[in-house]
Amino acid sequence: MKRKTLAAMALGAAVAGSSAMADLVIPDLSYRTGPYAAGGTPFSDGYQDYFALLNARDGGIGGETIRVVECETGYNTEKGVECYEATKGEGALIYQPLSTGITYQLIPKATADEIPIHTMGYGRTSAANGEVFNWVFNYPANYWDAASVAVNYLLEENGGSLDGKTIALVYHNSAYGKEPIRTLEALSEMHGFELSQLAVDHPGQEQKSQWLQIRRERPDYVLMWGWGVMNQVAVQEAANINFPMENFIGNWWAGAEHDVTPAGMSANGYKSLNMNRVIDYPVLEEIKTMVHDAGDAAGDGSNLGSVLYVRGMYAAMLASEAIAKAQEIHGVADVTPAMVRDGMAALEMSEGRMEELGMAGIGPEFSVSCQNHGGSGEGIVQQWNASASTWEPLTDFITPDKSVIEPLIAEDSAAFASENNITPGCL
């Protein structure tokens, strides 16, 4: 039976592969295996399903059908490079690798190959400076925004002052986890809180000593930059030492259903940031009827409407809007990667447009320019309600403190420019 299904799948795919030589090629560097699969799978499902919806409902973008080429990276940089090389030859229009490590690999390569990269809420923060990073975009928000949003939220909770408080940062010991440190250090100097840093090594299953330290030091708040299996372990460990969950805030990659459900009721009250709201959007209903019921769901179709599914869908929407913008600017339907870059650099996300797309209020309003690839940087804080199994938004979009972030971006991008002999400027 199993073998038959496989053979049928193979045959079906072979037929589909030969007939569907579509024109808009979007690679999906996904990871559905390994310690980070719990996050990679729903994101990729949402990403692919949205493009499938566009194909089914609108016949693609601007009349051109979309072909998604999936490639499994396992969150591993070597496989990521292989995937990039394997897919770029097919005419890839835009890369969204969902991995900060792979992003660092791809920034120089894609810049040389002139293919845009969109790293939504991850990747290299200083890519927000579009004059240095012409081909890299990280709207609507980046890690430094997230750090500042979290601190701003805590400021609000404490009546505007964090003086004398201690905040512990539990972070994934990689480029991803280290990114916010610089901003948090600047913020700690500014607001007078004490920052202690606790690194967790890949993949993050071993956190006993870190939480023992937290238990000893009793910081007022714990911030977490975690991903994959690390999140579940951290939430469980926090519960084990009876750390008050409402003082434990994850970033937006540490705030999905699968991160908190393993800890059961004891995860109740855990907070996290989010860059997209998760509610019952009309577009999810459309995906249900036009994609899932038609049997075209990516993956097993069980992730519809989860936090990371919606974020994957949001990422796909931003990509498709950029492609539509590129088609509008250049007046051709069959766009090239360079044209998509122009579309991304001219992208404007308004409340009205998001409502038209059936996802009103999914993200903040922002506009991209040649200089600013970073978007508005806003994020919300949400809280896990374990008995209802839902993430409840606590706040509206919180604005980060750009006066702290912008000098840091300028400094880091200037360092990158001088290392790589780039003269900052618009294309």
Partner: protein
Amino acid sequence: MLYREAGDFKTSYHADNHTFPIKFDRIGFWVTLAIAFGIIPLVINDYWANAIFVPFLIYAIAAIGLNILTGYCGQVSLGTGGFMAVGAYACYKLMTGLDIYFASSGYTPGDGAMIPKGGETFEVTGQFLFFTIAQNAEWTVYILGQINPMIAVILAGFVTAFVGVLFGLPSLRIKGFYLAVATLAAQFFLVWMFNKISWFYNYSASGQINAPERFVGQIAVTGPNTEPWAQYMICLIFVAVCALIARNLTRGTTGRSWMAIRDMDIAAEIIGVNPLRAKLTAFAVSSFFIGISGALFFAVYLGAVEVGEAFGIQKSFLVLFMIIIGGLGSIFGSFAGAAFLVLLPVLLKVIGVDLLGWPTDLVAHFQLVIIGALIMFFLIKEPHGLAQLWRLAKEKLRLWPFPY
């Protein structure tokens, strides 16, 4: 018929000492080299370079290195990933201008040029050998000029050799599994160190190291604009030279003393092999090769590296599996093992995803199953690895078509 010794006369000691005693092998060797140097660079593209040839060649160097230590000298090491990291970071520091800091004394601002280094600005005050001396109120820094990437890779090999010898010292006292644990300590310590001390990654915010664009002559060999053939040729040259050195070392006195130690260290000591010398040279030579492979891995192949992810314990295991599957104590085995573990996943992926159109996660899981099963199959059927299979095949071919 073709493959036989008959009629292949050796009339001099030189001829008798050939690496490949059979003429057909010699021809095959030269043809392989001719194809590798003459034809592949002309037809290679980005995908073949980055997904197949460059990783294969780099892992082959690492496997040769580990094979010298484990296969020839019998010292089990789980520190390969850490030593590759030493090579990568040494190469990075040398490529970007090594900086050495001392506490400053008697600095008075002058009118020298101001240069940025490590997030601070320094004033150039003098020159010392190859170093530029720069000062500010707090520090005096000696900065080495940017070094040609090829020389940086070789120097990185020497740095790694030195570190390897340091971690090889315990091998004089402890053996077998206990030594494996000691090298495991090296693995974890080195990765921790490169994560912890920001000097190694030039104080970047993310802890990543990025290979800047560097040239050999007019040709870019590192950085994003490197042509695939240049990447390939750099690795190929290093592989060819390393394999040649390794092969000749293992045939000579040094190699024989390593093998004597491997087979029985007490007996070796009695017949006059100095274990200190033999073990430490094995560690040095092995680490030298592993350092070169780490440097190439970072500079030529990936271009950006994060130590925990790229040089973690999995890397040590991967290279160890390569030599076990390829064949311990065999240069050819190092190549075969590297090819097996680099090419097979790519091949399975191409078959599963591109030809059969299966879901990517299914293929990724199948890959693990199939490779695991193949490893077990080979180890049960031929514990001495692919090299031994090859040797047996050659034995059979020599007798073919008249086996007895």
